[in-house]
Amino acid sequence: MEKTMSETRQKTFTCQLCGLSSPFTYVGQKPPNTRAIVLLEECFVTQDPFSPDKEKFLVLGSTCSVCSMCVCVGSDCSLFYTKRFCMQCVSKHLDQFPRQIQAELAKKKQSSKAAVS
């Protein structure tokens, strides 16, 4: 039983920013049954539970290309722009990102502030 327990633990992906955790079935750039599709980063992947088709994959997250933190693909936690960046690194190096992204983030920040207050 001990063995299966550690197995189960090993196979869980947890976002270090938001805490979202979920079991995964594959890590890498070429999930099974994806044919012509290739991922541009090493990802934690699971079967898409929301697709009726069992062969569809779902990317849960990957590691930040700057700080190597494990982050989910949720827009509050990370951003992909040729590489994966965690939100902490994005705000640290915001000036290097294109204007479109900067504007988008500013807008989001504002709306989330509005929602809180």
Partner: protein, 1134 residues
């Protein structure tokens, strides 16, 4: 680039199906991630339209903004350079790429090879446009799915139980038993199993009181754990299972777990057992807790978790040695309680319908007080189905009139939903959006009267605990209001908790199961809340009457078989009996039909069209025969018209769902009989064994499976519609009246547009032609088979017999009265065939002879065998079958007492039969005794064979069996003996028996002189009634009017029709002779049996070892020979 040229050169139309098909050839081939024709493929093209529109719009608006591209981007000195591209492109935000050799090649080709290629296919621009759209589509789908996942995780986190996640796991690790208490909506049922799974526990079983909950929880948990466990989360219920060897978490019913424990007391297959909804206090659940409690000591590694609403938690904790309790505080908004007792003039009287006015006033009040924009639905708690339909009707009228309410359906904005339910919605059904609750304060519950052996469906006040649960339903999603249709003083007077089922129902099945699990004396078993001793005693007595327990209370062989059948004892007995004769098919159908709710819709009862359409299905032999006809006719329709059966049912006012349940149950019964060796296993090859037909069959099955899958997919995407009464379908003993309205309509609406999924499942599960064959067999039943089937039903149902009142002929049809042994003045339920056709139960006038007051001689007296005696506003008999009285009683009764010349018989101490002719009486009795002895012998052989040899060994040879059924039929149909039949008065039963003989008398008349009627059974003087106990059920000469047994005047000369015996014999001696003397031809028979297997028992049944004291010798003689031998000494001594 060359895009302009491409566009100019030919007309590429993105909307044209041909053009799209050409791109499909490149991107969506058979082995690609997305395949042409799939759901995603369709979604892609829809996405492409939107994507292109969006792009055009953006290109136009962004045309001028290109210059200041680099403005915002400065790399501070010393900072890390992320190496991002100079120019912004949305494409860089996608972490997926599509690259196949083909696509690249195509792009290359079209660039280099020029026009010819392009003229017939998509140009490179189109290909790269399509590829870009595909990338965005993939990204979009990823975001969508991830969004759902994030939402799911957020919801899980927000459940009240989430904070206790680690604490629960820790408690379970440390303690053998843990109680988790929390109200509906706290998430215990879905989350606790997942916490355990992710903590590394394997082999988790979680019981549910309702089957439907097993299925929906398995689906939900499997979904929430992202199907990662796939087949590792499953369910197992009576007809279906998704369990595989890989299953780690199994949802199953309480009854099923009990059966598993019956097979394996160590529970080795489970590491953790969760018993959910223990507060509901169902019979099975209480019993399961008791069994688990006694097993836990032997299984130190097993973990047990009880999950409950926050009701009486201490009781459970105390029962398990103070097990730790983890209480999850509910998430409840404040609820305003308004007491609105029903005024006296609106109180329903006993027989009247519920007055809807108090309910309508509340609807009106809500409309006046709360603006329609404020959402909030209404949940009304009523006591039963009849009440629901009354109120539903009134609310519907009000709703259509005001356009503010919709009853049961999903409501459009601005319209409130009104949900009407029984107590089932207190704790078990999650209904979102309820803001108002109306509590009638009433519940209908089954109670059991052990004295009359009768069930009662009565309305009671609910308990304070139920009342609080009902109220709580108003405050799940926001502040709410609870209207109580009773006074606060009523509330204070309510019992604190509901009465557990174990205190309310018959315990027959429970006791039987306890016996088979070797749990010792049921009276000393430690129940969480022990049932009354009288109730246990009644059950034991009943099981003895039924032959399931012997005199010492131990299981008989038939009893241990019955304990393994998950059905009522009565039904189980029928199945076993049916397997002996060649009546398996009709008996299977009847047993299944009697185990589910009636398919005859009550609403159709007064519809003349339905009545006419039903007419050909009715049988005046009894309701089981009507059910049999109905089922067979339905199978016939299914075979011929398939999907047309739904319409067929509607025309006849039949609920088809019940028929599906029957066919499933029937199949399960068949498998049970087969697995117990009571039915030959099917050896025949599947029909249509030539290759073409088989292929066709296979293709059809494939198609059906596809239909089923499609349906399931649709189901999961369709919004779920409320179905309050799910789970009650045919559940046996869980007596909570989980009724509700509004079902059926939903099924039809939902399925109307596409496939009848029930039909698909039916075809997948059952072999229609085989069913049809079985149906036609029982349709063509001869009157002889019918008589035999009646006898089997009667034997199964015994002692549930009712006698028509002697004055019924002078009464109106609706006033016909019947009597059972314990209850006088019962009536036939209006749904029974006998309610509309009572004449068939009456003794024909021309056949009777008045023999003084209350005595009518006839050979045509009949009794009713019935399935249930249920008291609602009157005591009703339902599911009745009529049987010839004298014959049936002699063949099935447990106690038959006679006078000296057997002209007066008393059966079971309450029915008296007087036969006119002594000669006839003796003949009838003697025949019955022989038939019964043979029947018993064959039954035992059959049961013995089944327990030892398995299916291969058929305990009884066909010839012997056919001879017996021939004899029984002849006896049932052609016994023309005139007799009177009446119920004994209380006074008469007091002085019924002569009582035991005094010591001195006893010494000279006792046993040694009298030979046993049947070899191996000693006839002994009965210590209570007096007379001689000839067989276990027949007591000779014990009735008080008896003449002396040995007075010579009772000896009359008699010639045996089988042998040459001619001598003066007493009635008893004559019966003894007949019991063993067979026609000359028959005596030879055993030796002719192939293999000589059966012969030994048959021969020994005729002769036995007799020790003659006079000769002082052991002689092997038949009973007749013994008689002759003894007579020889008698004369010589004198």
């Amino acid at each position: 680039m060359d895009s302009e040229r491409g566009r100019d050169s030919r007309s590429w139309d993105w909307d044209s199906p041909q053009c799209r098909a050409q791109l499909d050839e490149i991107f969506f081939r058979r082995h690609d991630y997305i395949q042409a024709g799939s759901q995603e493929h369709r979604e892609f093209w829809a996405f492409l339209d939107r994507f292109q529109r969006f792009k055009t719009k953006r290109d136009m608006s962004a045309a001028g903004a290109k210059e200041d591209r680099k403005d915002g981007r400065k790399t501070g000195a010393g900072a890390l350079d992320l190496g991002l591209p100079e120019e912004y492109d949305a494409r860089y935000r996608i972490n997926v790429s599509v690259c196949t050799g083909d696509v690249e090649e195509r792009l290359g080709k079209s660039e280099h090879k020029g026009r010819r290629q392009r003229a017939s296919g998509p140009g490179s621009q189109e290909i790269s446009d399509c590829r870009l759209a595909l990338l965005h589509f993939l990204d979009f789908s990823q975001r969508q799915s991830f969004g759902k996942l994030a939402k799911l995780r957020r919801e899980q986190k927000n459940l009240p139980i989430f904070q206790y996640r680690d604490r629960i796991v820790e408690l379970v690790r440390k303690h053998p038993v843990v109680v988790v208490a929390g109200d509906t909506g706290c998430g215990k049922s879905t989350q606790v199993p997942q916490y355990l799974l992710s903590a590394g526990f394997n082999h988790i079983g979680c019981t549910q009181p309702r089957r439907i909950a097993c299925i929906s929880l398995a689906k939900r948990v499997s979904f929430e754990s992202l199907n990662l466990y796939g087949s590792k989360v499953g369910y197992q219920i009576r007809f279906e299972t998704t369990r595989t060897p890989a299953t780690k978490l199994l949802f199953l019913t309480e009854g099923l777990l009990l059966r598993q424990i019956q097979q394996d007391r160590t529970l080795a297959q489970y590491q953790v057992l969760i018993v959910d909804e223990v507060h509901e206090r169902h019979l099975h659940c209480d019993f399961l807790l008791g069994v688990l409690r006694s097993l836990l000591a032997e299984q130190p590694d097993l973990r047990l978790i009880l999950m409950s609403a926050t009701i009486n938690i201490k009781l459970f904790s105390d029962y398990f040695n103070g097990a730790p309790v983890l209480q999850v505080p509910g998430r409840l908004f404040p609820i305003q309680v308004i007491y609105q007792p029903i005024p006296a003039e609106e109180q329903p009287s006993r027989s009247e319908k519920l007055d809807p006015r108090p309910y309508l006033r509340i609807l009106q009040g809500i409309d006046q007080r709360y603006p329609p924009e404020e959402r909030g639905d209404l949940l009304i708690f009523l006591s039963g189905v009849a009440e629901i339909s009354t109120i539903q009707e009134a609310c519907q009228i009000y709703g259509t009139h005001t356009r503010r309410w919709i009853v049961f359906d999903i409501s459009p904005p601005g319209v409130r939903k009104c949900i009407i339910s029984t107590n089932i919605a207190e704790t078990s059904v999650t209904i979102d959006g309820v803001r108002f609750v109306v509590d009638s304060g009433k519940v209908k519950e089954m109670s059991f009267d052990p004295k009359a052996k009768m069930q009662r469906l009565q309305e009671f006040w609910i308990s304070r605990a139920s009342s609080e649960q009902r109220k709580g339903r108003a405050g799940r999603t926001g502040p709410g209001v609870c209207y109580r249709l009773y006074a606060e003083s009523d509330y204070d007077a309510f019992a604190p908790y509901p009465v557990p089922e174990i205190h309310r129902v018959a315990l027959d099945s429970l006791i039987l199961q306890m016996k088979s699990m070797c749990l010792g004396d049921p009276l000393s078993f430690v129940f969480i809340d022990p049932p009354p001793a009288a109730s246990i005693q009644t059950a034991v007595t009943y099981l003895k009457q039924q032959g399931a327990l012997d005199g010492r209370g131990e299981l008989t062989s038939i009893g241990s078989l019955l304990a393994q059948l998950p059905v009522d004892v009565v039904i189980g007995k029928m199945l076993v009996l049916g397997s002996l004769f060649k009546l398996v098919d009709p008996v299977l159908t009847v047993a299944a039909a009697l185990s589910v709710q009636s398919p005859f819709l009550r609403s159709a009862q007064h519809n003349p069209d339905c009545a006419t359409a039903r007419q050909p299905l009715n049988s005046n032999h009894g309701d089981p025969f009507t059910l049999l006809n109905t089922f067979n006719a339905w199978v016939e329709v299914k075979g011929e018209r398939g999907g047309g059966s739904r319409k067929w049912c509607r025309r006849r006012g039949l609920e088809e769902q019940r028929l599906y349940e029957m066919v499933n149950l029937r199949r399960q019964f068949k498998e049970l009989l087969r697995s117990h060796g009571l039915l030959e296993s099917e050896h025949s090859a599947p029909p249509g064994s030539d290759r073409g037909q088989r292929r066709e069959k296979l293709a059809e099955r494939k198609k059906l499976h596809q239909l089923k899958r499609d349906h399931e997919q649709q189901e999961s995407s369709r919004r779920k519609v409320l179905r309050m009464d799910e789970g009650q379908d045919g559940e046996f003993s869980s007596g909570s009246d989980t009724e509700g309205g509004g079902r059926g309509k939903k099924d039809q609406e939902g399925l109307g547009q596409n496939v009848d999924i029930q039909e698909v499942k039916f075809k997948l599960r059952h072999n229609v032609s085989e069913l049809q064959e079985a149906a036609s067999v029982s349709q063509d039943m001869s009157s002889r088979q019918q008589a035999l089937l009646k006898l089997l039903l009667c034997r199964g149902l015994y002692p549930q017999l009712a006698l028509p009142d002697e004055h019924n002929t002078t009464r109106k049809d609706s006033d016909q009265v019947f009597h059972t042994k314990n209850k006088q003045g019962v009536v036939i339920h209006p749904t029974s065939v006998f309610a509309s056709d009572p004449e068939v139960l009456q003794v024909p006038e021309d056949d009777t002879r008045e023999m003084g007051p209350d005595k009518r001689d006839s050979s045509r007296h009949q009794l009713l065998a019935f399935v249930t005696l249920l008291e609602t506003n009157k005591p009703y008999l339902s599911n009745c079958v009529r049987v010839p009285a004298l014959q049936a009683l002699l063949l099935v009764a447990n106690s038959v007492d006679s006078n000296a010349d057997c002209t007066r018989l008393v059966v079971d101490g309450w029915l008296e039969l007087e036969l006119r002719e002594a000669e006839d009486a003796l003949k009838v009795l003697s025949t019955a005794l022989n038939l019964r002895a043979e029947w018993e012998r064959l039954l035992l052989a059959q049961l013995g064979g089944s327990t030892m040899g398995g299916a291969a060994v058929q305990g009884v040879s066909r010839k012997v069996m056919e001879k017996l059924s021939e004899g029984l039929v002849r006896f049932l149909l052609y016994t023309e003996v005139s007799y009177s039949l009446r119920r004994l008065t209380a006074f008469q039963t007091q002085n019924l028996y002569i009582g035991p003989l005094s010591q001195s008398e006893g010494s000279h008349t006792s046993a040694p002189d009298v030979d046993p009627l049947f070899p191996g059974v000693e006839a002994k003087p009965d210590p209570i009634k007096g007379g001689l106990r000839v067989t276990s059920f027949f007591n000779y000469n014990c009735l008080a009017d008896s003449k002396d047994l040995y007075s010579e005047c009772l000896r009359t000369f008699w010639t045996c029709p089988n042998c040459d015996l001619y001598m003066p014999l007493t009635p008893l001696e004559r019966m003894q002779h007949e019991a063993s003397c067979r026609p000359a031809g028959e005596q030879q028979q055993p030796e002719e049996e192939p293999g000589g297997k059966a012969s030994s028992s048959s021969v020994s049944s005729l002769t036995r070892v007799y020790h003659c004291d006079v000769c002082d010798e052991d002689l092997s003689l038949t009973s007749t020979e013994i008689l002759k031998h003894k007579r020889q000494h008698m004369y010589s001594v004198k």
